[in-house]
Symmetry: C2
Subunit: 464 residues, 2 copies
């Protein structure tokens, strides 16, 4: 990769020439201005999400909906004129939520809105009747005595904070993922969590949870935030609170799902690949519009609009729709395994998987030379409200394993202020997408992708 | 009532004197300023709604929850020190929603979020499978040909508009109430409506519907707005849309519910009554926090805070918590029947039944003399952001039948911009109440009620 170093000056000049910008003028070049205008006037991104959510709907990995989504994605790539469409089989565990219901039986009868966490076992056929013990957080739970927890239903009442960047998620989601193991170690009969979500609505938020091989499995569910409030009010008034919980989740065994991939092959350097991506699967209660239909629409539309407006790209644009993100980046890990000898071809990888809020910042993980060469890109994105960010990007969930193989990544940071109001709920539906914000996303991704594919930018570190 | 006329000048003087205001200064008098400050610092209103929603929860007329609510209300009046607490039996039809589910079976399979409309019959045991025909509104439905409708499921896709005063409700709710009759006349097998609600959420909004004796009953349900969008998208794409609908609603026969009434007896004119009210019942899926736990909290707290701050009132303050508002103002009609010989004692009647948004206007239905005498009241309410409104008040649902008996009424108009996001859904829960807005409501009702009870205002027309 030493050649990149020597070529840096030439490349920078070329990039500047190609797009008619310079660092001094800092104005958006003509091709970007036109591409931006074209994308901002196009409904293609929204039409794609609408097609996916209306014609397919929910698509939990391995389900019939997931199979329909795989067919839909291949047909959509073909319809959009991608010149290569292929799939990669991915083995997934199919899990079915089943009906879930629960009620408070003491001190006051109350029906609760509950959902099983992804991967949870069921409760016994007659349900589970037990007193609850409330913990403020996973950390609080781990300080509890087994004498206080044994036989009870642990209730983690940890409220997620709203934040544009979604920084409230990390501290709270640990209770969802690891709560069952920690509670079971203390002898709990089940674990329920306050939903990991920012809306105080009556929807429960699902999401993946984990068991450990050496710890007994216990049922795990999430209560809506409104119901968590009700229970907390009873606990805080000094009552013993008893619940009757029924989760009817089921493991359905192994199924085959697929990563679905569409390409516009590069005219000049077909073996240099710009990978943009989203995930095709979703949870099962909503229609997966924000998570991650929006991402699917954004990256498919961005590639297609580049083709329409600028013609075939110089480098290959590869759009990857990953399988089974929700249950542990399964499709992405399989992609990495299958493509391990080709990862050096990736100029950059990025995923759109944070809803449809406007993009406000571009973070990169580029070599110093690449960062300098990216100046015209930052300039081109500025009129769309996108700031230059840091150089510590992680790339998004499904490409987060690539930097350790030397693959440069970026994050096009979206406004996620309201994302976790809907995330993993039945309320993740098409109407939650603002068409204008989606158009801004498509325009930003189109400019980013066009720059990466049509310039000679070298994003890799020489040693990588 | 001719004496009121003769007394007008004296009364006006007395009102002015009692509260230390005049039309010229237009400043809030000392007792009102203190009462307002006291109410704005009190959590009593919120605590009452919290108690009702946590300790009782849903309370559909005639249900066990309703019976618990009646006991709760009597106990709460006693706890708050009301000096007379009594009930009026009200016969109500008890109806149970049962589980409801529906799916699109063609052109694309989709699970739908649906709820039965209040009073609907069930679908056949194996569900109802039929094609839909979409109408834009009830009016549109009535123009359709029986040949097009026969055997189909009518789907009224009429979207409610958001409005501070809730003016979007009237034009749309007619489809909910009368849709089954109109659809059945044309031979439809069932009717489904887009939910009468302003949030585009995945909750379906229930509410009462009606049958006609001479028209065959058909099942009636509401789809969430997000699901209505999905179906509309399929219809608009030219597809025949088929549904499989299961409503398991049941008539459970007659039960006795109760209007629950608490009073602070007037010291000087106990037979002159200031009636403030809310309704105790709710629909069954939420906890009835906005509809109408908020009203219950507001009027109970207002009366109690007057007693605490100003002592026993001169006229009697009567707080009425009506039974069975949701199924047709049943408790209110019974109140009117039972009290028909005493309606002349009512100085004013008003109900709080529009959630917990801030009050922005006072509309009255007072005699010209009463309106003049009310000047200090308008002055006292101005610092709380309450404007003087029109003199065409209707009083709120449960007192709407009283003006025809000569009873003066007012509307303390609340900001209902978001009320219909939650109205009649599982999402009508305590967290939807802004405690500060509720305090403003309590302060306004306290000032209004204190003025009516402690001044000598004569609100009735001499001829009434």
């Amino acid at each position: 990769m030493r050649r990149f170093c020597r070529l840096a000056a030439v490349v920078l000049a070329a990039a500047t020439l190609t797009f008619g910008c310079s660092q001094t003028t800092q104005t958006q070049s003509q091709p970007y201005a036109e591409l931006s205008e074209y994308a901002l006037a196009s409904n293609l991104g929204f039409d794609i999400v609408k097609s996916l959510t209306v014609e397919v709907g929910p698509r939990i990995p391995g389900s019939d909906g997931d199979k329909r989504a795989v067919e839909w994605a291949q047909a959509k790539f073909a319809e959009l004129g991608f010149d290569r469409v292929f799939t990669q089989p991915v083995r997934v565990r199919n899990w079915s939520r089943g009906l879930a219901d629960a009620k408070v039986t003491a001190p006051y009868e109350h029906d609760l809105v509950i959902t099983a966490l992804g991967g949870s076992i069921a409760t016994p056929e007659d349900g589970l009747q037990a007193e609850i013990i409330m913990a403020d957080s996973l950390e609080h739970l781990t300080t509890m005595s087994p004498d206080d927890v044994r036989g009870k239903i642990v209730f983690i009442n940890h409220r997620m904070e709203r934040d544009r960047a979604g920084r409230g998620y990390g501290p709270v989601v640990s209770g969802r993922v690891r709560g069952a193991v920690e509670a079971s170690k203390l002898g709990a009969s089940a674990i329920l969590i306050r939903s990991v979500g920012t809306a105080n609505s009556r929807f429960a938020h699902t999401g993946i949870m984990r068991y450990a091989d050496d710890v007994e499995k216990i049922p795990a569910g999430a209560l809506s935030n409104a119901d968590a409030d009700t229970i907390a009010a009873m606990v805080e008034a000094g009552h013993k609170v008893k619940l009757d919980v029924h989760l009817r989740a089921k493991e359905l065994g192994w199924q085959t799902s697929y990563n679905v991939i569409g390409e516009f092959t590069g005219t000049e350097r077909p073996d240099e690949i710009v990978l943009i991506s989203a995930h095709l699967d979703s949870w099962d209660e909503g229609t997966g519009a924000l998570d991650d239909g929006a991402g699917v629409g954004i990256v498919m539309a961005a590639a297609k609009l580049i083709k329409e407006q600028l013609g075939q790209p110089k480098r290959t644009i590869r759009v990857v729709l990953y399988a089974a993100e929700e249950i542990g980046l399964v499709g992405a890990h399989e992609y990495t395994r299958l493509e391990k000898d080709n990862l050096g071809k990736l100029i950059v990888a990025a995923e759109s998987d944070f809803g449809a809020g406007k993009i406000y910042r571009l973070d990169t993980l580029f070599s110093p030379v690449g960062l300098t060469q990216a100046e015209p890109l930052f300039t081109a994105l500025a009129p769309l409200g996108v700031e230059r960010g840091n150089n510590e990007a992680t790339g998004g969930p499904d490409v987060s394993m690539l930097p350790k193989y030397g693959v440069p990544v970026v994050n096009l940071r979206q406004d996620g202020t309201y994302y976790f109001d809907y995330h993993h709920t039945p309320n993740d539906t098409l109407d939650k997408i603002d068409p204008a914000a989606l158009q801004q996303n498509v325009a930003v991704w189109a400019i980013f992708t066009a720059f990466m594919a049509n310039s000679s930018i070298e994003t890799r570190s020489p040693q990588s």
